[in-house]
Each structure stands twice: as C-alpha cells, then as structure tokens.
Symmetry: C2
Subunit: 334 residues, 2 copies
C-alpha cells in the first residue's frame, strides 16, 4: 500500500479546526506533497494553504483526494459524496481514515472500480499479518512511548525523522495511526489489527534494514492506559527498540478518557517500558524526554525541562519549540 | 451467544489424539453435556465415550454438532462436509473453532439458513465491543496468568471453578479461547478481537456481579511472550483481577514457538503481572502457583512444589493431580 502523491486535502464541511486535524497534520509535515485544500461552502476549518476546487486540484496534478476530516461516528458524510465522486471522475484515488470504509459506500466503490482507481481505507489493515517471530533483525529502531494517549508521540517521531534526515542519517518514520499513514504515504493502523498479530504487524512495518538505518516508530497509547495498553505492549515487542523516547503532557490531570486514572510518574513509566523493551532487546535505553508545553508558561516549562533533564540525565525538550537535536545526539553511541 | 446443549462431538478423520484435543477438553470437563462422539471411519482419535452416528446423536437429543477437531490450516475438511450437512438436516446447530468460518462454506450456510439453524464460529467474535472503561465493578475476579502459552491456564481455571462450585461458592469460568468457549457454552476468543478492544471485550465477558461472586477468567499467552503479550496485558487490565494464579510448565526449555527466548523466572513473572494488575486493582495479589508436572518424576515434582511454596509463601499444586483446594482456601480473605 503506497498512497500516490501529490494529495488534495479534502476538509469537507468541518465544523471547526479540530475536525480537520488529520489534514492539518499532513499540511504541517508534508506541505510539499499537498497541492491545496478542497473545502465545501460551510467549512469552518482552514489550513492556510491554497484553496482549490476539485477540478483545479486535478489540474494541479493531485493523484489522491485525502479525506482529512472526521465527524462524530466516523461515517462518510452525505455532503462529501459529490466531491469524492467528482474526484474519482477526474481520475484521483481516494484515501480516508474513517471507521466506515470508502469501499462500503456503493456509489464510491462502483465509481472507483469503473475507473480502475484505488480506495485507501487506512484505518483498516489491507492485509493479513503473521504472528511475530521475535527474532532480532538488522537495522536500528527508535520507539516513541507515552505516559498517556495523545501526548505528542507522532509529532515527536516526525520531528526526530526530520532532524535525522537533516543530518544525513538514514531514517524512516514508520506510521502506526491514520494521520501518520497519510504523512508517511504508507503504514499500519496498529490498533485495528487483530490482537494476535499486533507485534507481527509491527515486525512487518519495520523489517530488516541497513545496520546504520533508523526506523522511527510512531507509538500508540500507553502501558498505563487501561483501554489500550495491549496495543502499546505489542508495539514495544514488535519494534524491539534500541532507543526509546518518553512523551508526556505535564498539564493533564487524568488519563485520556479515564477520569479515575492519574497519569503515571515519569520514572515508573520509563521503568516499565524498559522492562518490556529489554525482554526483546537487552540494549534498549531511553535517549530523551519530549514534553508538550503548549499550555505552560515559558518559565514553568523551562524549569520542568531542566529538572527532568537533571533527574534522568537525559535531554528534555518540547519538539515543536526546541527541536530534538539533543535527543538525536544521543543516538550516535547506539 | 449461547451454544445449545447437549453436544455431539465430531472428531472427523483426526489423524491422532492431539488433533481432537478440543473435543477431548469438552469431554473431560463437560461429560454430562455430551451425548457421544461422532467419528469418520479413518478417525484415529478416541475420547472413550459412546460412539454414535449423526442420526443416533440426533435421536439422543444432541442440539449442536461441535467440530472438535483441528487440521493444518484450520480449514473445514472436505471429508467432514457430509456429516455436517446431515447434522443440519437432522436439526442440529453447528459449532466450530477453526480459522475458516462455517458460514463461509456456501453449502453449510445455505443448509443452516434453510432450516433456521445457527452456525457458531467461536474463533470469530460475533459482535463489536466497546473500548474498555477501566471502571471498578462489583464482583470478584481471578485470572490465570502464565510464564508461557499452553502451560495449563485453562485447566487451572476450570479446576478452580469446579472446586469453588463444590464448596457452594458463586463462581463462573469465563472462556477466552475456543476450547474454553465450548466448555463454558459461551465466551470470547480474545486473541481474535481487534487490538483496540481487547480489554473492552474482557470487561464485557466479566460484567458486574454479586459482591461474593467469582469470575474465574481463562488467561491467554504471557506478558513475556514476544508474539502475544499484548493480549495478555489486555486481559489483565480488562479483568481487574483480585486474585492471580501463576501457571508454569517446569520442563519447557524455551518459550513456545520462540527458540531464542527462555521462560521467565517465576519471581520476575509474578512481579510484572502484579505491576500491571495493581494499576487497575490495587488489591490484586497472587493466591497460588499451578504446575504441569506430567513430565516430571513424583519426587522432582514434590520437591519443586515444596520449594516454590516456601519461597513465595503460596500454595503450589498440580491441578490435575493434587486438586486446587489450597488455592481456593486463599480466596476466603479476599
């Protein structure tokens, strides 16, 4: 599965900016893959990139219309159908990350089949995976883990890939969630894989590679999240990380979606992740801590970063404000 | 989903006893649910129960023909088809735990639909589950965990349920694998659930209950198994166990299917299971160790049980040889 580029980002009738955050992530990390945004008249989201009609997007060379908008229920909105069908008529593949499959909407399926075009439902794995073999394989791997869901693991991994490539290192971001898959152009929505095959799917996603090549694997969930921890553990075992980065949101007062659960302290979280990582790779170690400090004052953020850096003897940064240079420095010895 | 009883156990053309181990487990634990075994002429397995033709099984009152035989690839053998269709013609539901679904064999599906009979593909969850809520719920729960796969977790859980019921305690075995589902009459094949919903499926399987009721939850895999650990962790979080029993096979020299991995030592295994269990239930504790000593001399087994019992201050038994009375004794204080 490789989604063809460039993309036209379809924002539909997004009621606010948050509803279009998938498209926002793509525009931020892969601006050069996007010919522009396609919006319906009542769309309230705006990525600040060129507005195009579907026809103009096709003329600009777009190969895929990416449905970068979500709605409650994850279904394909009736208001979106005309645009999607027009894009197919103009020769574009369609890609979406919704619960409902594009291929399950009869008009879309029929139109794509008639034109010989592809439909990518990136939330739904397109293939069967093997059970994980657990064998060590060449190449190096970094995994972003978290104290909770949605604490910046994808942004951290993408920042690391960008910095590593800027330094001329061999590195690939390996996407495990829907937005990440659009940004990478391929990947596996790991939480949608059948439970027996979580680690096997990660082994497939991050295969043997050059000894000096780094796979930067997007993490999911947290070992401490009572809903999703199995996914997080399968990611650790499947990726056999040489390096781990801990991601954390300092202002969150409970686990996402679980009001009864406080976030773990950073030390416990690192310890537990290391126990599981060292079971499959005895050399696994943490190389940095990445904070989302967007809701903190500059002083409070600086104090916290200094303090954590001292306690754990690791670089501690906000990837979006500070970059991740000091974390990448730590990879040189691995 | 409730599989109707009594069962006729279909052994097909099983080439050896092991191929019919699903039927063997049902006959051992639920003899009074089974009218007998149905075997093809070249069947090499024998459960030592009444041999019946399908017609005789129907006359004896069988409501469901259980396909209790597996073959390489998990497909529905051509040689089995006549028997399955005859059972449907005689008014029986059909239940199987193979990879291939009964419902995907056109002749079987058409015949069952025509008669208004049910097909149970117990390896494939029949419903969607919610994401786990992580909330404490009334009732008590015991979970069997293991140093590895296939170390006796199901037999341990069934022994515990039997002993608890014999003592007049409120207890239900909660099945998480295919053989267990036939034995319980219902359950969830937890390793076939989509990764995001592992813990949610366990919450569904073990709902709120009387304060003095015990769910005895069948474990799967091991936190130390590099292929399946995500399933094991989801089971811990979803079941929120008050009590844990550790299952172990002392003569195994590497993890099942993973020649590069030794089994964890019992202390590390208990510690790691407790960390995860206490995250969702701070009162979680181990109440016993269950060994499969079938390949050990009586002296070696006795010595090992005494030694482990001393070290961990817990009862240590082989459930099939010693029963699990001392383990159930420990539940009184919980």
């Amino acid at each position: 599965m490789q989604i063809k580029r460039p993309y036209a980002l379809f924002l539909g009738d997004a009621p606010d900016q948050l509803a279009a955050k998938t498209a926002g992530g793509i525009a931020e990390w892969r601006a050069d893959w996007c010919v522009g945004q396609v919006r319906l008249p009542d769309c309230k989201a705006d990525l600040g990139i060129t507005d195009l009609s579907v026809e103009a997007a096709a003329k600009a060379g777009a190969k895929t219309l990416v449905v970068g908008v979500a709605n409650r229920g994850g279904v394909i909105g009736g208001a979106w159908l005309d645009t999607i069908l027009k894009a197919i008529d103009l020769g574009m593949d369609i890609a979406a990350g919704l619960h409902q499959r594009l291929a399950d909407v009869p008009e879309i399926k029929a139109a794509a089949d008639a034109r010989g075009l592809q439909l990518f439902d990136v939330r739904h794995p397109a293939q069967a995976f093997a059970v994980a073999a657990g064998k060590r394989r060449p190449g190096k791997r970094l995994l972003a883990v978290g104290t909770d869901c949605s604490v910046g693991k994808m942004y951290t991994a993408l920042s690391l890939e960008k910095e590593m490539k800027a330094r001329g290192m061999k590195a690939d971001f390996r996407a495990t969630g829907q937005t990440g898959i659009f940004i990478a152009g391929s990947g596996v929505s790991i939480d949608a894989v059948v439970a027996d095959f979580i680690s096997g799917a990660v082994e497939w996603l991050s295969p043997a590679n050059d000894a000096d090549h780094w796979d930067v694997v997007e993490g999911q969930g947290s070992l401490f999240h009572a809903s999703y921890a199995g996914v997080s553990l399968g990611l650790i075992h499947g990726s056999q990380p040489d390096a781990l980065v801990l991601c954390h949101d300092p202002v969150r007062d409970h686990m996402r979606g679980l009001p009864d659960y406080r976030l773990p302290d950073i030390e416990s979280c690192m310890e537990l992740n290391l126990i599981h990582a060292r079971h499959v790779n005895p050399r696994a170690k943490f190389v940095g801590i990445c904070l989302n400090t967007s809701a903190m004052s500059a002083e409070a953020a600086a104090e916290m970063k200094d303090s954590l850096s001292d306690i754990f003897d690791l670089p501690c940064v906000d990837p979006l404000k500070d970059g991740v240079g000091p974390v990448v420095d730590r990879l040189a010895d691995l």
